[in-house]
């Protein structure tokens, strides 16, 4: 996030797009609702009538996968009415001319047809977002998990720069990160192109710094991403794999493909706290300790580094993950893998990572610190891009519309979209073992529209067979108007009705993020 979570409540326009905030980020939704009670206009853009959408002043029920069209048309309208921020554009950005040309190709009338949104609603949304004095954008996987996810994200950045709604308190472009430490895993360099703190592996000076610290030669070639690892296992270019705390078999799209990949591995190691479906395929499984059994830190979606503390002992036989990983390093002959505590690991990391240099366990015990925090007398950074962007000037991108890869046709006439539910977390390896959460939400429950259900003769609570080009699953459905006609929503929490059996592997060409949000399916009543 460019801003902090508590800041949201002081915005006067909260623009929520592709985020089921109250189920996926409940305590952020709380700030959104507070902003509304303080008088902010709440705009929700989502094909589904989510809880946030139900509370919104305007709910734009956009057609699946047409965000780029909608946002470009909004910007077209903003420019036509002179609602843009000329001073911000001149002083802080570049690339405006090409961008302007692209936007002109999207008159609001044309967009209205593609997005299935009335013209006057589009106009009103453009006016409110642009002319409010403190507007902020919140988005989640409804924006990124598309085969054109990067285009969606760039369009949101364009919108914020065009109106100058960025780099101020309560105002910016805020991706809400899903997992507890997805921010931290990125920050720590668990990515094929960067070391900790986004220091690129292809830079010679950076590489020398890490070579010196770690005492071994390092590769200057960018590594491969998860989808390429899976393909590599199948084509034989990848032979050995180490999976740490991930249940890839159930959480990645196209389960057939992932299973085939992992069973092709010559050697597979899985380190986890339970015997997940992924661990069942391993050659060696290592039992780790859980979060309440170790010291360490997580970084939340607002870049705040926070402690986790040991409250209880791990079960006999399991070991803290940091102990396991450093032992493996020692056995591989690495010299400096002798750590006495998680704190020592953290200190080594900060000594190599400028944006974390000023953060210590002692300091975060005393106060909240958000990175970047370059020195021990630095208070941390509450919001980003204050006087300039990371790259200097903000760059406008000319974005054109690419429809989703697999749109409905005669054979597969429905759109399947997927997501999460309030009581569960991913593949339920944890929440399924929390008795209270299991009782609260014991089985899968897809969502369908009244009129589709009536046509198929499916009653509320009845079951449907969902078939795609990859496979078939059966799921119970609740019938209502949460999803628009012509579509079905499924969560991926339950193995028996996991939509990941159905999804394809259509990736965004830049980020390699798969499309979890638009897939063509056929629906039939299950007898």
């Amino acid at each position: 996030m460019t801003n902090s979570i508590p800041e949201i409540e002081d915005a006067d326009c909260v623009f929520v797009i592709g985020s089921n905030t109250s189920e996926a980020h409940p305590l952020i939704a709380h700030r959104v609702f507070r902003a509304k009670t303080k008088g902010a206009k709440l705009i929700a853009i989502d094909p589904r009538k989510t809880q946030v959408a139900q509370q919104a002043d305007i709910h734009v029920r956009i057609h699946y996968g047409t965000d780029v069209v909608f946002l470009n048309a909004m910007m077209n309208e903003i420019l036509r009415n002179g609602w843009h921020n000329q001073q911000f554009i001149e002083e802080r950005t570049e690339g405006f001319e090409d961008f302007e040309k692209a936007v002109q190709e999207f008159p609001i009338e044309k967009a209205s047809e593609i997005c299935c949104v009335p013209v006057d609603v589009m106009r009103e949304v453009a006016r409110i977002y642009a002319t409010s004095s403190i507007s902020t954008i919140l988005y989640t996987l409804g924006i990124t998990e598309h085969s054109h996810g990067v285009d969606n994200v760039k369009s949101l950045a364009n919108l914020a720069m065009l109106t100058g709604h960025i780099g101020k308190p309560s105002s910016g472009v805020n991706p809400l990160r899903g997992q507890n430490n997805v921010q931290g895993a990125c920050d720590m360099g668990a990515l094929p192109n960067v070391y900790p703190g986004y220091q690129v592996v292809t830079d010679i000076v950076t590489r020398e710094k890490f070579q010196k610290a770690w005492g071994v030669p390092l590769s200057g070639e960018v590594g491969i991403t998860i989808p390429d690892m899976m393909d590599g296992l199948i084509d034989g270019s990848v032979k050995g794999m180490y999976i740490f705390g991930e249940n890839s078999v159930e959480s990645d799209p196209n389960i057939h493909h992932v299973r085939k990949a992992l069973t092709s591995a010559e050697f597979l190691v899985v380190q986890d706290i339970f015997l997940t479906k992924t661990a069942e395929l391993a050659h060696v499984v290592l039992p780790g300790a859980a979060w309440s059994e170790v010291e360490g830190t997580y970084t939340n979606t607002e870049r705040k580094v926070q402690r986790i503390r040991k409250a209880v002992e791990p079960p006999e036989g399991a070991r803290p993950n940091w102990v396991i990983l450093s032992e493996l390093g020692r056995r591989l002959g690495l010299k400096n893998m002798d750590y006495g505590s998680a704190r020592e690991v953290f200190d080594e990391m900060t000594s190599l990572t400028p944006s974390f240099s000023g953060i210590t366990y002692d300091r975060i015990d005393e106060m909240d610190i958000q990175w970047p925090c370059p020195s021990q007398d630095h208070p941390g950074t509450q919001y980003l891009h204050k006087d300039q962007f990371a790259r200097g000037k903000g760059l406008f991108h000319a974005i054109r519309y690419r429809p989703s890869e697999e749109m409905p046709d005669e054979e597969y006439p429905f759109i399947l979209t997927t997501g999460r539910r309030y009581a569960h977390y991913h593949t339920r390896t944890m929440t399924g073992r929390c008795q209270s959460l299991h009782r609260e939400f014991p089985g899968p429950m897809a969502q369908m529209h009244f009129s589709d259900a009536e046509r198929l003769g499916v009653a509320d609570g009845g079951s449907v067979e969902v078939t795609s080009r990859r496979g078939k699953v059966v799921t119970p459905v609740s019938v209502g108007d949460i999803v628009p006609e012509g579509s079905i929503f499924m969560d991926f929490h339950f193995e028996e009705a996991n939509p990941n059996w159905l999804l394809g592997t259509y990736l965004d060409p830049v980020s390699k993020t798969p499309d979890y949000k638009v897939c063509a399916v056929k629906l039939e009543k299950h007898l």
Binding site: G184, G189, A190, F267, V284, G296, V312, E348
Partner: protein, 135 residues
Amino acid sequence: MDYEFVKTTCPFCGCGCQMFLEVMEGKLVRTIPDRGAQMNEGKLCIKGWNAHQFVQSPDRLTAPLIRKNGKLRECSWEEAFGEIVSNLSTIREKHGSESLAFLSSARCSNEENYLLQKLCRAGFETNNVDHCARL
């Protein structure tokens, strides 16, 4: 009786709510929201209120497992470490560093993620490390 409160961070979503774990006789019994935390101000969602429950599940793994004759069976740490080091090293020698891949975890701590990417980069001289942020 041994009874204490340990401050920690919720293990589920990216909000990062602060909570106390209530510990009685070495067992987790409850989570309690931290009223002093700026982010959640004494609130938790349904997942946070029940976050302690999975830790003491009887399904927890308590020994390393190794595949023998197609089946996973329990083994010692010594045997597990030996098997991993020898297999990964052999693959590296035969097929090169780029034939190895490491998947890290958005669930695990900064320290653990740092060590996993270090193990991959320093231990095997490859940048083939990723995690599920893009999924």
